[in-house]
Symmetry: C2
Amino acid sequence: VNPTPVTTFLAAAEEIATCATRITLEHFRTGFAVERKADASPVTIADRATEAALRAAIAERFPEHGILGEEYGSENMDRDFVWIIDPIDGTKSFISGVPLFGTLLGLLQAGKPLIGAIHMPGLGETFIGTKAGGSTLNGTPIHCRQSVALEDAFLCYNELPTMLRVAPETVGKLMKLGRYQRSTNDCYPYAQLAAGWVDGVVDFDLQPYDYLPVVGVIEGAGGIITDWQGRPLSLNSDGRVIAAASPEIHAALLAAVG
Amino acid sequence: VNPTPVTTFLAAAEEIATCATRITLEHFRTGFAVERKADASPVTIADRATEAALRAAIAERFPEHGILGEEYGSENMDRDFVWIIDPIDGTKSFISGVPLFGTLLGLLQAGKPLIGAIHMPGLGETFIGTKAGGSTLNGTPIHCRQSVALEDAFLCYNELPTMLRVAPETVGKLMKLGRYQRSTNDCYPYAQLAAGWVDGVVDFDLQPYDYLPVVGVIEGAGGIITDWQGRPLSLNSDGRVIAAASPEIHAALLAAVG
């Protein structure tokens, strides 16, 4: 049997992720109910309906693959290929009318991130990529900007209020790096990094469905993404992430959190 | 002489503010140079070109009015009507590819905010209003949601990293209010408040061109906007702002910062 080529998976991933547009925008800025999950994070009918649609789209194409999703858990995690779904990354944006929520879809092969997709229904943008094959934004190739020196870097810090509570000294060091530092949220900073608009992202307290789908997008654009110890990201990572456009900036961010 | 009716000013304000769309989007996500101003904040050709276009559009229609803008300063501030311009509120969003930057345009009469406009070129949204005549989003009436209890409120805190450095106890109190607290940036939280998507905004360290143009939008939508002492906003306010959908939430935010 010929193995399925990566390009087939890439095309499928784009089709599957963009299923989210219709479902999310049907609910966005309407009077849906917001429930609270066990961890107090918000969830809506749009999160559940989107994940259900993506799972169905995966099962139709690849019934033999595993799936891990934020809302409906895992199935067939022993398979060689496992899809990772965050139906609405940025539910707080979604419930407050901000079009910066994203649908994240990743494909792992033997536990390693192969393909990543960040689809932004409210912006009409899809960032998708794979380390070996490059990354694109709505079909146009994108690249991390690798020529920006650390002193000129634009750096995005997610979960800054939490980091400030838990690790104030680390935040103090991070705020001294680069030219611009911004308190950011959710997946869009990773898309900005892959598109060459910012130079680094530090994140904290993520789940596998938050960080695994962005790996292919960053690596396909020539960027570096690891945990806070510089190790590759996997299902077992601790949820702390550093992503950077260049080895210099990655090293500086690693040193600041070390 | 018949005085110019407010509806004429409203229509003019919408026309003038939306001049920013073409100019800002011509530069957005291109390789423009970013300079630093005396206060280290970034500025680009797009900020200057947009303000120049808005000033010309005002002067053509109302040569007898005063103008205060972020980039080109003030003229004729002794006049009864004075326009306030922030050509790109959210320059950090603009220079990092995030479509949440806004063009702010306000009209003061005898020093008091009469009309406010928040135009979002990257989203194709214009929020505009006046206390007596209501507020709209792209022509559709909008209202603050006044039925949300404090315990269920979605609260937006701008400039949170700065507030944390300068007033950590205040931030501690704010983070205990409401159901959702978010670290936000720039003008969009005010637009969200007027549209009924969030319930309160606390801001810090603003300039008159940042806060005066949002007043008409908030008040026209039935919301309350004051400084941290509960006083109306004017050219002489200290740049600390509280805006809320209801008197209950306004009072709770005031108490937390007091």
